[in-house]
Subunit: 215 residues, 2 copies
Amino acid sequence: MEIRIAIFEDNKLVRDALQAILNGTPGFTCCGISADGNHWEEDIKRNLPDVVLMDIEMPGLNGIEVTQYINDLFPQIKILIQTVFNDSEKIFQALCAGASGYILKNDPPHKYLDAINEVYNGGAPISASVAKKVLGFFANKNVVLTSPSSIDYQLSEREKEILRLMVDGRQYKDIAEQAFISYETVRTHVKHIYKKLHVASRSEAVMKAIQQGLR
Amino acid sequence: MEIRIAIFEDNKLVRDALQAILNGTPGFTCCGISADGNHWEEDIKRNLPDVVLMDIEMPGLNGIEVTQYINDLFPQIKILIQTVFNDSEKIFQALCAGASGYILKNDPPHKYLDAINEVYNGGAPISASVAKKVLGFFANKNVVLTSPSSIDYQLSEREKEILRLMVDGRQYKDIAEQAFISYETVRTHVKHIYKKLHVASRSEAVMKAIQQGLR
DNA sequence: TTTAAAATCACCCAATAGGGTATTGTTTTC
DNA sequence: GAAAACAATACCCTATTGGGTGATTTTAAA
């Protein structure tokens, strides 16, 4: 049983090299190559990979966004992030987007193959230097973690907009100006928001908004 | 040059075994053993380790708290967390407390030695299963990360207490009951809190409190 | 096409919150 | 032992917020 791998990579040289390596190694098949993430859904549906090798830096949709999308629609597909720069922020965003592993672009081919094998078998390969970044990133931080998909309060777009302004600490008259509506309309929206969120004050609404990720 | 290691571990058998292994291996010296974290400061100052091998589960002060304290006072000391259970929450807390690496208790001795060597040399050893937990923990989460040490608003204990109640969404009369003080006193405290936090409303104060970690 | 939801505006009233000032002890610190 | 900070209380007045009720228009869905 061969592991089917789809490659997302904007650099043609790297892309072709990876494809050659994968197809030249027993047990691995490159089932698709994409130069960017703009047609990720068709690409994925057509090729049905087991593992996606994802570059972070791509024109158009970046690797983090595509990771998030693939993970939402095809949670069974493992995503292995390949990154050149040691950008903690990017690594961390990919982490939250649902990546299964991290490998450095200048890692040797056998490490690529090992990592693909590992994610395919449910593991979480992380290059040592990436691990260091991740650890360093969280050291001495306060963290508020929330699951965005937990509850949907069914807020309308306008209500979300008002809520965001409330989170910013703006008062009703300011919100009214900002949203080009009257003070009374703002108040009406706020009342609806409170009912949907089951709260009775601004600070409670703000709390929920932050914790649920402002949906 | 030998690596000096201090052990924090409540299980005597494990503690003694680790000490024996370390002292029996060239290049490693066990410079201190503690059954709990209650006298961590004396222990550390007396033994001056390069690396601390820290158990998470300990009576009294737990390994996470001790990790935080050691990291605050002795940032040059590397802390290697050893853990039995795959508790993502605990692993994650230790991550934020400033641990440099994670190793599983049932890893073989040579992995211990490798990991100690790695942290000592600035690496970040993470057991594969721990890496998996860490990745899984962040997948599909919203995260608010803040640095707690950034600003100190010099709130008094009482003010912090009031602020915590405000974060809970309680209104002044409830806070008054909870804190066994009068309504007017609550208001006075709130005014002081606002001045110190440079805000002018409850929701702004709550926001700052959450983001700064309620100091 | 009827229904339903969303968005808009308005008025009333009460509750809550915010700002200022002042006084009185009690700690804590220098 | 004096000065500074903290805790607690009270009263003033205004601004803001929260809840109810009702209405119109637009948009979207059944």
